[in-house]
């Protein structure tokens, strides 16, 4: 379990990224921080592996304050996947993934074998292993990023807008892939996004953030949709525009699901 205890962060230039934030993230579930830019979601994520140290408060992993742990050791024990994948451009795909194993002291062969295995897990053809990152498409690079995050089999996976830079079709594919992986691997995932649909799709627990890391609402997607806490949440999740208020209409003998404005969004499964 990851726990934020009354955490705050003011950067050296005086910007207050997070005011006072407390939350528990249950193990083996996906928690999604969602909000507009400047809501402190990335800052919150980066506090887990001490890429950002809080100005006050504590972050605990299984009741151990991360501040007491060596930064490098801590980061090696946590998977990290970021936007644009963050791969090393001068290393081949296989070496990018194996690097994590090498950092943990695995032998070259052990590291490579494991890297091949995990590349397969994320659905990458082994023929791509000897290419350089720049020779892959954005979606493929992102898969390598996920593979690198998973290669050491960490309990915690931090994902900072990992699918933000790929086109919608590939994003959809990657999201489904992540859901599949999560069913198999059961990690504690902390996921950051500004896309509420992505948050609802991936999150067991969704945290909607206002400016300064203020929690607008926490809950499962169903809870939030059923009972939005306030107007901010309603507007943020699109309830106020009628996008999520659906009803069934019969058109040409088929039962179509339409939103409040009458726009068709799907069909009703019988």
């Amino acid at each position: 379990m990851i726990e934020y205890r009354s955490i705050g962060k003011t950067f050296a230039d005086g910007t207050e990224a997070v005011g006072d934030f407390s939350l528990q993230l249950p193990s083996r579930t996906t928690t999604v921080f969602v909000g507009s830019s400047g809501c402190g979601k990335t800052t919150l994520l980066r506090m887990v592996n001490r890429m950002v140290d809080p100005s006050h408060g504590q972050v605990l992993i299984d009741d151990v304050d991360v501040a007491t742990r060596n930064k490098v050791e801590l980061r090696r024990s946590i998977g990290y996947v970021m936007q644009e994948a963050g791969l090393l451009p001068h290393r081949k795909v296989i070496d990018n993934v194996a690097l994590m194993m090498r950092l943990k002291g695995a032998s070259k062969k052990e590291a490579r074998d494991r890297a091949h295995e995990v590349l397969e897990t994320v659905g990458l053809d082994s023929s791509l292993a000897n290419r350089y990152p720049a020779q892959l498409s954005g979606g493929q690079q992102q898969r390598v990023g996920v593979a690198r995050g998973l290669v050491t089999d960490p309990n915690i996976l931090l994902m900072d807008e990992p699918f933000g830079a790929v086109d919608p079709i590939v994003r959809d594919e990657l999201q489904q892939e992540l859901l599949r992986l999560q069913r198999e691997l059961d990690k504690t995932i902390v996921f950051v996004t500004h896309d509420i649909d992505e948050a609802f799709l991936l999150g067991d627990q969704v945290v909607i953030l206002k400016k300064g890391g203020e929690i607008a609402q926490v809950g499962s997607p169903a809870d939030i949709l059923a009972k939005p806490a306030n107007d901010f949440v309603s507007s943020f999740i699109g309830l106020d525009k009628g996008r999520r208020t659906l009803h069934v209409e019969e058109r040409n003998g088929t039962r179509i699901v339409v939103d409040e404005s009458g726009k068709a969004t799907g069909v009703l499964a019988e």
């Binding site: 980066r46 592996n49 890429m51 490098v72 050791e73 801590l74 980061r75 090696r76 024990s77 990290y80 970021m82 644009e84 963050g86 791969l87 090393l88 451009p89 001068h90 690097l99 994590m100 950092l103 791509l128 290419r131 350089y132 720049a134 020779q135 892959l136 498409s137 954005g138 493929q140 690198r148």
Partner: protein
Amino acid sequence: MSVLNDTVDWLGDSANWSGDDGIPHRLAQHLDYTALTVVIAAAIAIPIGLWVGHTGRLRGLAVISTGALRALPTLGVLAYASLFSGIGIKPAIFTLVLLAIPPLLAGAYAGLESVNRQTIDAARAIGMTEWQILRKVEVPLALPLIIGGFRSATLQVVATATVAAYIPGPGGLGRYLIDGLAVSDYARIVGGSVVVIALALVLDGLFVILQRVALGSRPSRTPTVA
């Protein structure tokens, strides 16, 4: 035309290709001074440049001091240095080191600055130590620019090492220029210059190859459709 002909004669004269004042010996001396200078300058400039580039600290100072060092008049420094260390090769090497530091320093810190911040952030986030980030990410990615620093430093030193002969003692290829000038032997002056130029061109070519090798098989940043 006579100087040109005389120069060709001078270069072709077998007497000039042997002995202590022969071209091979002078060339070896010249290379010796150049290598010694670049090694000393690199030992000073590269660690500082890497530190400045990695930490981003004292960058302003590095920029100003490279500029200031570049503005130093070589002959003035040489004369001044020889007042302290006497005649011989020491003041010349000292002067040439001052000349070689700026391009090496600039190559190192500019090279590190050119590395994508996101790549470095990612390396840190996955648990690389600062030393590993420097050694395995920043230096390899900055290598073409670092070698570029060596390239311009070496060329400047090769060209300027001719002043070493200004002070009595050993002298490298500059001997031909300074001694030739003293007796108005233009063939010797031009011949010596030609050898210096040829040496500079050869070294420059070697550095071009080295820079290519540093890039390795790594492709450019343009992604290909896969």
